[in-house]
Symmetry: C2
Subunit: 449 residues, 2 copies
């Protein structure tokens, strides 16, 4: 990961090592930041510096006039909080629009950082031009040294999976690990996660872990941490600040907000979706605002007004842990030409739950009615959501919806992905159909729109 060739000689002559804070002057500019590692086949004619806003910049060594060492990297396994808060002890700052602004707390919070894989912990494989997952807790530190100024952080590698490979079993493992961390007394838990299915996992943990005493924040990156414009550092800083200091509890996702470089949004775990394949602000709260925004530069958390009642933190609270999921649940997106025999197939396979992603206000073709009746007759929980993504489910407006309701289809006015996870969870944690239906229709983790 070190430099070589001309770049190496230049750095060695100045006594600068990867991880040090340095000031680099070129003919036109001055860059102040942390010297980042270079990988394998990278050229030897550029230095990479992580700037204060979290972004990396490559500087051609031809253009460098001087390099000055600003601060030596601290090499500790568990990096302790460096420097006290400048603004005083936990005072509440100025009010933002509609919400309160919380200054970074000066007490040394303790965070558990649990990594599960994904781009946030990956780097470019220069041999293939693609990205592969390579992760140790130490590597994460070397990439985001700023974390040490936020809290005392204990890192642990729980698994190393692209998130498309995660299953409900992995959700259970994560829920158990979070429980363990909570009983160890951490002030917050940050879970690094691949973005592809992060919103499924955040729903799963929201149902599995109720009455949480502290925040559990899932965080990912859309661009790997060794790329210029990577969002890994800002997202991780935002997640850690919120987990360490926000007066909130529950399960959240922290990811870039909008096109700005230095704002990270906190989304409620059951109300968020990956809506873009590649942009840094791919995650969006659906039909509500994010619960908070972290300004990375000022390290401020702005709590936004919300219809959702996020409870404050309370370390004396004991979580309710129900971490099992029943995989005999299918999500089926309806479309013109959909073959109802798919539903009959699920019946024959012993499926216990079916979430339909219907059209509009919650509809499927009348061609499906017989198969749906068969499913309900065979004690399958059949639920309806909408593929529109936005807007309320309203099955009483049209004949089709009313017909489906009268057959016993359960309207789940929530995101299809959240509904799938909830049905999996309800079926694993109820002892009768009546109890399951009642749990399905109860608000458990702010999942209803």
């Amino acid at each position: 990961m070190e430099y070589r060739g001309d770049a190496y000689r230049l750095l060695e002559s100045r006594g600068a090592k990867v991880g040090d804070r340095i000031v680099v002057k070129t003919r036109d500019n001055e860059y102040r930041g942390i010297l980042m590692p270079r990988y394998e086949l990278a050229d030897d004619t550029h230095l990479v510096i992580k700037l204060g806003n979290g972004y990396n910049i490559g500087v051609s060594i031809d253009r460098i006039v001087s390099i000055r060492l600003d601060e030596r990297r601290e090499d500790k396994e568990v990096v302790e909080a460096r420097g006290e808060d400048k603004e005083g002890k936990g005072e509440e700052g100025e009010r933002g629009r509609g919400g309160s602004v919380i200054e970074r707390n000066s007490t040394r919070a303790r965070l558990a950082l649990v990594s599960t894989g994904g781009t946030i912990a990956s780097r470019i494989d220069y041999r293939t031009g693609g990205v592969r997952a390579v992760l140790t807790a130490e590597e994460l530190y070397s990439i985001v040294p700023e974390l040490s100024s936020i809290a005392v952080i204990d890192a642990e590698v729980l698994m190393q999976e692209y998130s498309e490979n995660l299953t409900p079993m992995h959700w259970s493992i994560m829920a158990e690990k979070v429980t363990e961390k909570i009983y160890k007394g951490y002030d917050g838990i940050v879970i690094t996660h691949g973005t592809d299915t992060m919103h499924y996992t955040s729903s799963a943990l929201s149902f599995a872990l109720q009455d949480l005493p502290v925040p559990v924040v899932l965080v990912g990156a859309q661009r790997s941490s060794d790329r210029p414009s990577s969002d890994a550092a800002t997202n991780l800083i935002g997640a850690s600040l919120f987990a360490a200091t926000a007066d909130a509890s529950g399960v959240f996702i922290a990811m870039h907000k909008g096109k700005s470089d230095d704002r990270v949004a906190l989304h409620i775990g059951t109300r968020v979706r990956k809506n873009h394949t590649s942009s840094r602000d791919a995650f969006e709260s659906i039909d509500i605002e994010p619960i908070a925004v972290v300004d990375i530069d000022s390290k401020r958390i702005e709590m936004l007004e919300s219809d959702c009642n996020v409870r404050g933190r309370d370390k004396s609270r004991r979580p309710i842990v129900r971490s099992r999921f029943d995989e005999h649940v299918a999500l089926i997106k309806f479309y013109p030409g959909f073959d109802p025999s798919m539903i009959e197939y699920l019946i024959s396979k012993g499926y216990r739950g079916l979430v339909l992603e219907g059209t509009g206000l919650g509809h499927v073709s009348k061609r499906c009615f017989n198969a749906i009746k068969d499913a309900i007759d065979s004690k399958m929980l059949v639920c309806m959501t909408s593929q529109c993504i936005w807007g309320r489910l309203r099955m009483t407006v049209y004949e089709t919806g009313r017909d489906l309701l009268s057959m016993g289809v359960v309207p789940l006015d929530m995101l299809p992905e959240t509904a799938l996870v909830k049905v999996m969870w309800v079926l694993a944690n109820s002892s009768s159909m009546d109890e399951a239906r009642s749990m399905l229709l109860s608000d458990i983790a702010m999942e209803f729109k």
Copy 2:
């Protein structure tokens, strides 16, 4: 549909009938518009007036000071264009941002209005409080008399279905009907359609009908035409204006744009999606701008700048019609816990195509790899899209995507709904797997992002 009780007596005393243009004065206001019908169990204490902007308002008869008859309704089966264009003959007006503004053409265009069902042609059933489809061409006219000032319109009821009940067979019927109308020489075709699957149909017609000489515009409504705030009239007016006068050809969807009352957006048929269950601006172009916006008040069409090359109209052009679809194609949305045996089931049922709605840049779990290999070995076309909805598909970035590509999965960088329809169409219109793959990867109707 007529009034009764006090309302009836008031109207009779003034000689005003449903469909007439009237001026109603209350103590505070003056309303100028068309007297709308009232239905069945409605109260007898309000008149309903359609205002110039297309919206209905209910006026309590207690508040009415005077009613004046402005213009008698014209009772014609085929209403002819009334009044000439005020702004002159087809002059090009002022330029809008980035595009050109086209004044309403003064020549009498001929439009074919084909109705297939849905909310735009439905009304509230006051006995149930819901909505049911009741449609005749005459009713449509009585609801939107303004259509007569746009063009000579011939209306035809092709089918009466909620759009969730439509199948690829119905797409074929619509394509054949449009072809018939084109050969009759119409200047444009407007198809009223339920909104739930309107974007599937617009994709289907885009592939089935190439080299169209004139615009084919699908239009729906999110609120039935007898409700205050119905968008039926504005959408229909916007669709008709565009179909009659815009210098464009191809298949489009016309629906409300944004929160404004009087703007209708024109979307390219393969690039649009219903993204909200209930709002009037539920339809959105994905990753591009709409191709045009119609201002209903001024009757102006503003063509927007676009990456897509929409061809102008040319009535001498002969369309290529390939209206068949193969229903042995499934769309499967991937999720954590997805059971790959669903794919094996499709193989056993003789499916010929599978569109996966994967995660992120185009991924599914490695648990699915064997089933996908089996599908490809059995000559099934297996294609990938993303459930993110927005953003490009990029299967070369991560190992998972590269593995899937090397197995033979076809990356379709388009909306999942469009991809499903395209595979159905390609399989019905190709004679070999090679030809099918080549058609899949060719740009046919601006479907690629």
